[in-house]
């Protein structure tokens, strides 16, 4: 009996004792909710995560936040689907008690998750999700430091006008991103009074055989094709367009910086030559001092050029940490106010958030570049910047038939 009592007492002490130390040195948790498995664009998520991890390491090496507390990243995979995204966010909020969440890449997921963020009062960042609806809803807890679709559509419309293209074909995926860009391009053509015809074909992301759609485009005889897929569909469109003789005879523009990734040439071989794409970072760009330091560390650690997703992931974690310090709190509501009130050093400029009209609410837009690979196996660092004119490093090339 007394032995039993002793065991029970010991067990009770064992349970109570670890709970006793004050939570003063408990880490501050920041959630990273990003695609890490299909059908999401897992490459993108991994790159964002790289940047976020490097930021957390840097912050902790410099004493952490709130007087010595370490920053801990809690990673959840949203798989590119709204359901997994919402489940992941809920877990981050209720189980891990994160202060803020970043890492969002797919617009469809972001639009589902931001409602939850608003309800639970946790600031969240779109790291690379660009549909206008995300910031157009004017929610208090949604922030973005990435280009939005109206900007993207206007950017390529300016390029189309400059090149004198009269027949523009677009093949877009049936997600918020693809459908959004299709609508924005139509609006941009109208707003900028563009005298070109636009033909948009929508495809299902699950489909692998896009030959019939590309054949229809080819038979329409376009001057340029806009490739509005995300992840695997981008490669499928390029490959199959080359196979039917559509590209590179007709130039093709990829709507985001997938061709900047290391595996681009491995997946396409020569078929990627002459592809044009939108990027937000180039190795020859001048960065802020924080950006330059990050770039040097990234090159050393990974032996390759940093990619925009990693840079943005890094900048957002640094921003969140500074906001936590400014708010002197790890509670989401206070941190959100500090984010809105503050100015933060990003990797490519000073970031601040205002309440503008339409989608320009808590939205900071980085500059865009249009790049081209004029030769096979061109490293990203050697790609030509073909637009805008004030930043170009070379001429746009269309191969002779």
């Amino acid at each position: 009996m007394s032995r039993c009592l002793a065991i029970v007492l010991l067990a009770a002490v064992g349970l109570i004792a670890p709970a006793a130390p004050a939570s003063a040195q408990a880490p501050v948790k920041i959630g990273v909710l990003t695609p890490l498995s299909p059908p999401g664009d897992a490459s993108a998520g991994q790159l964002i995560l790289r940047g976020a991890k490097m930021a957390a390491e840097e912050i902790n090496a410099h004493g952490g936040v709130l007087g010595g507390r370490k920053v801990e990243l809690v990673v959840e995979d949203d798989g590119g689907t709204p359901e997994k995204g919402v489940a992941g966010f809920r877990k981050l909020a209720s189980q891990d008690h994160v202060t803020a969440v970043m890492g969002q890449f797919h617009s469809s997921v972001t639009e589902a998750v931001q409602e939850l963020a608003e309800q639970l009062k946790i600031p969240m960042f779109s790291t690379q999700a660009s549909s206008r609806g995300i910031t157009e809803k004017h929610l208090t807890y949604t922030f973005r430091t990435h280009v939005i679709d109206p900007d993207r559509a206007q950017f390529w419309t300016r390029w189309i006008v400059q090149q004198g293209f009269k027949r523009v074909a677009m093949i877009a995926e049936n997600t918020d991103y693809g459908l959004g860009l299709s609508e924005e391009t139509k609006k941009a053509f109208k707003a900028m009074d563009v005298k070109a015809e636009l033909k948009a074909i929508i495809f299902d992301r699950a489909v692998v055989d896009l030959t019939p759609q590309l054949l229809e485009i080819k038979n329409w005889k376009p001057d340029v094709v806009l490739n509005v897929g995300v992840g695997t569909p981008v490669y499928l469109i390029i490959k199959q367009a080359v196979d039917i003789g559509l590209f590179p005879a007709v130039p093709m523009l990829v709507s985001y910086d997938l061709p900047a990734r290391a595996e681009f040439w491995k997946n396409l071989g020569d078929k990627g030559t002459y592809i044009t794409f939108i990027a937000y970072y180039h190795p020859t760009m001048k960065l802020t001092s924080r950006g330059e330091a990050f770039r040097a560390r990234y090159r050393e650690q990974f032996k390759e050029e940093p990619v925009y997703g990693a840079l943005n992931g890094y900048a957002q974690i640094m921003l969140i940490a500074e906001a936590i310090d400014a708010a002197k709190s790890d509670v989401g509501e206070a941190v959100a106010k500090a984010i809105l009130a503050g100015k933060f050093q990003g990797w490519n400029g000073t970031i601040s958030f205002t309440h503008g009209d339409g989608p320009y609410w808590q939205q900071w837009t980085p500059p865009m570049l249009m790049m081209q690979y004029a030769k096979p196996d061109t490293p990203f660092a050697d790609a030509t910047i073909v637009f805008p004119p004030e930043l170009k490093t070379g001429d746009f090339v269309i191969p002779k038939r």
Binding site: F203, N219, K239
Partner: protein, 296 residues
Amino acid sequence: MDTYALAQYLLAGLVIGIIYSLMALGITFIYSIMKMINWAMGEFYMIGSYVQYALLVSVLGPARWYLALPVSMAAVFLLGALTQRLLLRPMYVGVIERRDEYATIITIALMVFFRNLAVVVGGPNQYAPADYARPTAIGPLPISGNRFVALIAAVVLLTLFYLLIKKTWIGRAFRGAAQNRVGIQTAGIDVLRLDMLAFGVGVALAAAAGALLAPDFLVYPENGAISTFKGFEIIVIGGLGSIPGSVVGGVLLGVIEALGSVFLSPAYKDLYGFLLLIGLLAFRPTGLFGERERTI
């Protein structure tokens, strides 16, 4: 209607229909012997594409894809046989009561398992082996070199399969098991071993489709999903359990999708196959070559 455009679409549809009929053949062959539907066929397609890619980048080099193809098929055959032996044989030895539900649960679980295993082992990103052949043309119509080669290989495999079934002793055993599973045992055939071989052959055909289409449709964990539902569409159109039905169904599906794309819109290409399916089932529920059967 521009005949050149029509011809391009028809060719594209025909080529892909024949290649997908390999999938359908695998599903229908397994069904005819084992009387169960294998929902994980797409994942064996996916494994076939991964093995092909791995062989080409490591041991064989990109030019010897025609050597890698039989090796991937053999590897997936062995995997299939092992899977059948361990997970599916209990259905046939009186251990499992609710056989159909068991088969469905096990094969769907395998589907989820293999997909996630691919993410863990190969990473979530896509790979692509180098092209098997340069883009070429059939008459005036351009065609991807890969699809042309895949078309030839699919026809060869379908022919070899036909010869296996019609001209060999084991083929006769398969036909017997499909007609009367109990009767064949009285003839002294080990029907359980036959099940294992049939499953292996069926999934090897799916692996062949995956290996052949790898350069065009890429290698990534989800690449089997669409081929599964194309395979099922084809077997319902052609008739479950019918081998000529798989081939005819495949060609018909390809042609209908092509014609729908030309005369209506390519955006709804996948819808036309299902409309054909619904229409066919309304008038001929057993599919084109299927037969009504009675089971106890």
